[in-house]
């Protein structure tokens, strides 16, 4: 209807004009139909992925309640293809990591069987609290195991867990102590700790494979909610509803309408923007005294709130993230940016968040000037146009920037007190004059220098060492004068939306799209464009597409360890 209205506005039809409107609408429908048809795809891969810490914690909250303490430390994540979600398919569990998982499992199980919670979390009472009760244990382990494994336990799996609980109950003379051991056993199982995607023959494409309904439910749920499938989604998988077009659409609608979508979107952008690097961010207190511990957490939250507001609440164009002046601030972030924050802040209460507008000074706008970007990609005592430029290209344009060679001298760049080179532009120019450095710095530095009006701690500045900062440069042939200009260029850069599409697909599928999926990716890109670059529509396009769940038989043959589990 919006297209119809636009045509009417443009043509202002009389009787003949209405005919033109009709023809125009037909043309639009034809174009829409052309891009609405999903092309054939080679399919992706079935992947085994370790749960991320966030996913692990969310599942425990969903299954046992938000007040259950987890404790322990998680194994470090690994980034591949620009995403931890892809790296999760390339990691295992070390012996030390298993000890941690085991400790967490014991902690969680102990709380579940605790008298304070058992009546709520355990659906039956044993005949005797001092002896095994296989029927009750089976009931609990089957129900809980289905949620933890994201599928029903096979009879053999279930009976083995019941047997463990039975043996332990006998030894410990306590049904609940036995159940504790049984649940611990579930929580340290690879079936819980890893998302194992099982496959089946694709009846619509004889000779090809697709994820089975439970793997499909998991891929869908982790993509949209960063959580395991809920009971409804598992039931839809169980009944076969999820393998029908309408059934899938119904579940996608439900998941997209849920408030939990925000958690999923936040998880994706947390991964894409590299926020896992924040624990290592530190600033020299002598140079940047404003940068206190609270900033680290609030910087990430500012950007995630902005993204959730723009892309979900307002349903804005994704590209507007690079130009928007709307954001959210706390009093502490106001200090960092040198902006007043009109918030009621009582003594002893957490920092409140308030909507804020960045000043329309034509210099700074968009998430590139957020502390979550400029402070993250800086050194402790100085900015780094190189790190910023590299991150900008890799994160938002999906362009690979090579790492520097190992024998580079950074002396000139690091010396911020050299009177010969007052600004970082001058220092970088001197550094990049070395032949081995020039190539990469040409790629990274011009756009990074545009952000140099934000210091290492995200404070706004106009000069460095008394010299005026020149933030001008050129990006892919387009000249700019400052960070706000770079935001505008990115807004209109064709690689920006396609980069998001590629990352979102990789995030959901756990693997980078292959050459055989090029037509499919083009289709997603085209749908994204046609839908006004709106994230919820993009998510819908991806998760309702057939190719998102198809498995490439060739890759299957080469993928060692793809599970062969089939539906019970």
């Amino acid at each position: 209807m919006s297209q119809f209205s636009a045509l009417v506005r443009v043509l202002r039809p009389n009787r003949r004009g209405w005919f033109a409107v009709l023809i125009g609408m037909l043309a639009i429908f034809a174009a829409d139909w052309a891009i609405a048809a999903e092309p054939a795809s080679a399919g992706g891969r079935a992947v085994v992925r370790r749960l991320s810490p966030g996913q692990y914690m969310q599942i425990v909250r969903d299954v046992f309640g938000g007040d259950v303490t987890i404790g322990g430390r998680f194994e470090p994540d690994f980034r591949a293809g620009g995403l931890l979600a892809v790296g999760a398919g390339q990691v295992s569990v070390t012996a030390t990591g298993f000890e941690q998982y085991y400790g967490m499992a014991r902690t969680i199980a102990g709380q579940v069987v605790d008298p304070a919670r058992r009546d709520v979390l355990i659906p039956c009472k044993p005949v005797s609290a001092n002896a095994p009760d296989d029927a009750c244990a089976r009931q609990f382990l089957a129900r809980t195991g289905r949620m933890l494994y994201r599928r029903p336990l096979t009879p053999a799996e279930l009976e083995s867990k019941v047997a463990v609980a039975n043996e332990a109950a006998k030894s410990l003379k306590s049904f609940y102590a036995g159940l504790n051991v049984g649940l611990t056993n579930l929580l340290v199982s690879p079936m819980f700790l890893f998302r194992q995607e099982s496959i089946e023959n694709d009846p619509d494409n004889p000779g090809k494979y697709r994820l089975d309904a439970y793997a499909k439910a998991s891929r869908l749920s982790f993509m949209l909610w960063n959580a395991a499938p809920d009971n409804q989604l598992l039931s839809a998988a169980e009944s076969g509803e999820l393998n029908t077009e309408k059934g899938l659409a119904r579940q996608v609608d439900r998941l997209l309408k849920s408030r939990r979508l925000e958690a999923g979107v936040r998880a994706f952008f947390t991964d894409m923007l590299g926020f896992d690097q924040f624990p290592t961010v530190a600033k020299d207190a002598a140079i940047y005294p404003k940068f206190i511990g609270a900033v680290v957490e609030q910087a990430q939250e500012q950007t995630l709130r902005t993204i959730a507001d723009q892309l979900l609440a307002r349903k804005s164009d994704y590209r507007d993230l690079f130009t928007t002046r709307s954001t959210f601030l706390t009093p502490t972030l106001g200090i960092i940016y040198g902006m007043p924050v009109d918030a009621d802040m009582a003594v002893g209460t957490p920092d409140p968040w308030v909507p804020a507008e960045v000043p329309d000074n034509g210099l700074n706008a968009g998430i590139l000037t957020h502390a979550s970007f400029v402070a993250l990609y800086s050194h402790p005592g100085r900015t780094s146009p190189t790190l910023r430029g590299k991150a900008l290209r890799e994160v938002f344009l999906c362009q690979r920037v090579p790492d520097p060679p190992g024998n580079v001298s950074f002396t000139v760049v690091q010396d911020t007190t050299n009177p010969a080179y007052k600004t970082v532009r001058e220092r970088l120019r001197a550094h990049a004059s070395e032949a081995m450095c020039t190539g990469c710095h040409k790629i990274t530095d011009p756009i990074g220098l545009a952000l140099d009006t934000s210091d290492s701690a995200a404070g706004f500045r106009t000069n460095e060492n008394g010299a005026k900062i020149d933030a001008g440069g050129e990006l892919d042939g387009i000249k700019f004068a400052n960070a706000a200009d770079v935001g505008k260029i990115l807004h209109d850069h064709p690689a920006v939306p396609s980069c998001l599409v590629g990352k979102l697909y990789s995030y959901g599928a756990g693997t980078v799209a292959s050459q055989g999926q090029a037509a499919y990716m083009n289709y997603i890109n085209e749908r994204f464009r046609a839908n006004g670059y709106r994230l919820p529509d993009l998510l819908r396009t991806i998760v309702t597409s057939k190719a998102f769940y198809q498995v490439d038989a060739d890759q299957l043959a080469s993928a060692a360890g793809v599970p062969t589990y089939s539906n019970p």
Partner: protein, 371 residues
């Protein structure tokens, strides 16, 4: 009205300010500050205490016990307990209840005149920062070491300045006052100073207001007050004072008036009621401000600050509390009681160090809460 330093560095903030607040006349310029440090102004020098520094904690306790009639052996026995780290044994009870009324022990902090005046040593030095509050350069008054003005009235410093924890020479701050203000900064609402004039880069008339913020100071990575923090102004009229003044060569001064503030924190006077308040505040190029605030304060308000501290104030800070009571009473130099003739106020001066801040008037909700 949102206000703060309108420097080029923060041009963006100025635009932001305009976007969320009514616009001031274009000719007005406002700079707001949050007080990072407020400490007793002093200028300690060798030989400025003719009787020497007052005894430290242990010697003070020995003197107290001796005055109470304890034998030397018993005194040393008690001091062994004091130094044994076992909570000082019976010492707190003895020290606290050393007062006598009608022969019965009483809490000396509640009844400071229940013991004889220990005559603590007081300052007789030449220098002290401050102001000539009474326009009388009487003999014995101080000279300001920075402005060289004579007739400086700072009897509060005179009373306390021979106690070790109350001695410092600028730019250092005295130990007690550093501790007191620093501890208060974490828990009490911030003090705000706002200077408004047509053009603060030129000499001219200004208005200076003192307010209290609705929130406390956020500390920076070096534990100092953060620059550029936003404060809503407390609507409580007991925390608001306004003065006419002028700026000359970047230094703001005010016409003497009354300054009121509620501090509400431990180790500081709960309430500030300062008469004939004077201010000398230098606006520094880095956006901060530094200066001296002086005036007459009810000496009982200052005594209570120490008295509330009780045994801790004596046992940890080394302030003889009844001695302080007598010294403040003797050195009080204004507002004589019509009946007794006893001066009820004492001159005092404080060093102020402040950093730039944004200030916003209280919201309707805050105003309602304030009432």
């Amino acid at each position: 009205m949102v206000s703060r330093i309108l420097s080029a560095r923060l041009a963006c903030a100025a635009v932001m300010a305009i976007s969320i607040a009514p616009v001031r006349p274009a000719s007005a310029e406002t700079k707001s500050f949050v007080v990072d440090w407020l400490t007793l102004a002093m200028h300690s020098e060798d030989g400025d205490c003719p009787g020497g520094e007052n005894p430290g904690i242990e010697d003070m306790f020995r003197g107290i016990f001796k005055g109470m009639g304890y034998e030397p052996d018993k005194i040393e026995e008690l001091m062994v307990l004091y130094n044994g780290g076992s909570g000082a044994g019976p010492i707190p009870g003895i020290v606290v209840y050393r007062g006598r009324i009608d022969g019965k022990p009483v809490n000396v902090y509640d009844n400071p005149t229940s013991v004889p005046d220990p005559n603590i040593h007081t300052v007789a030095g030449r220098y002290s920062p401050g102001f000539d509050l009474d326009n009388k350069a009487e003999p014995g008054s101080f000279e300001d070491p920075e402005t060289r003005e004579k007739g400086i009235d700072n009897q509060f410093y005179r009373a306390m300045g021979c106690i070790h924890s109350h001695r410092a020479t600028p730019p250092h701050r005295a130990g007690y006052w550093s501790y007191a203000w620093d501890a208060g900064k974490s828990v009490v609402r911030a003090w705000l100073i706002t200077v408004t004039g047509d053009d603060l880069s030129r000499d001219g008339k200004v208005t200076v207001t003192f307010n209290r913020g609705m929130s406390r100071v956020i500390r920076d990575a070096n534990s100092q007050a953060q620059r550029d923090q936003t404060f809503k102004i407390d609507p409580d009229p007991r925390t608001q004072s306004s003065f006419r003044g002028q700026i000359k060569d970047g230094v703001v001064t005010i016409e003497p008036g009354e300054l009121h503030m509620i501090t509400g924190g431990a180790y500081l006077p709960l309430q500030w009621d300062m008469q004939r308040a004077h201010l000398r505040l230098k606006l520094k190029p880095d956006g901060s401000a530094e200066g001296v605030l002086g005036g007459y304060q009810p000496w009982l308000q200052l005594f209570y600050m120490y008295g509330i501290g009780g045994y801790g104030m004596e046992g940890m800070i080394g302030v003889n509390i009844p001695g302080t009571y007598y010294a403040l009473r003797k050195l009080a130099d204004a507002n004589p009681d019509p009946k007794t003739g006893q001066n009820m106020s004492i001159s005092a001066a404080y060093k102020i160090e402040a950093v730039p801040a944004f200030t916003i008037p209280p919201s309707q909700k805050s105003a309602a809460a304030g009432r």
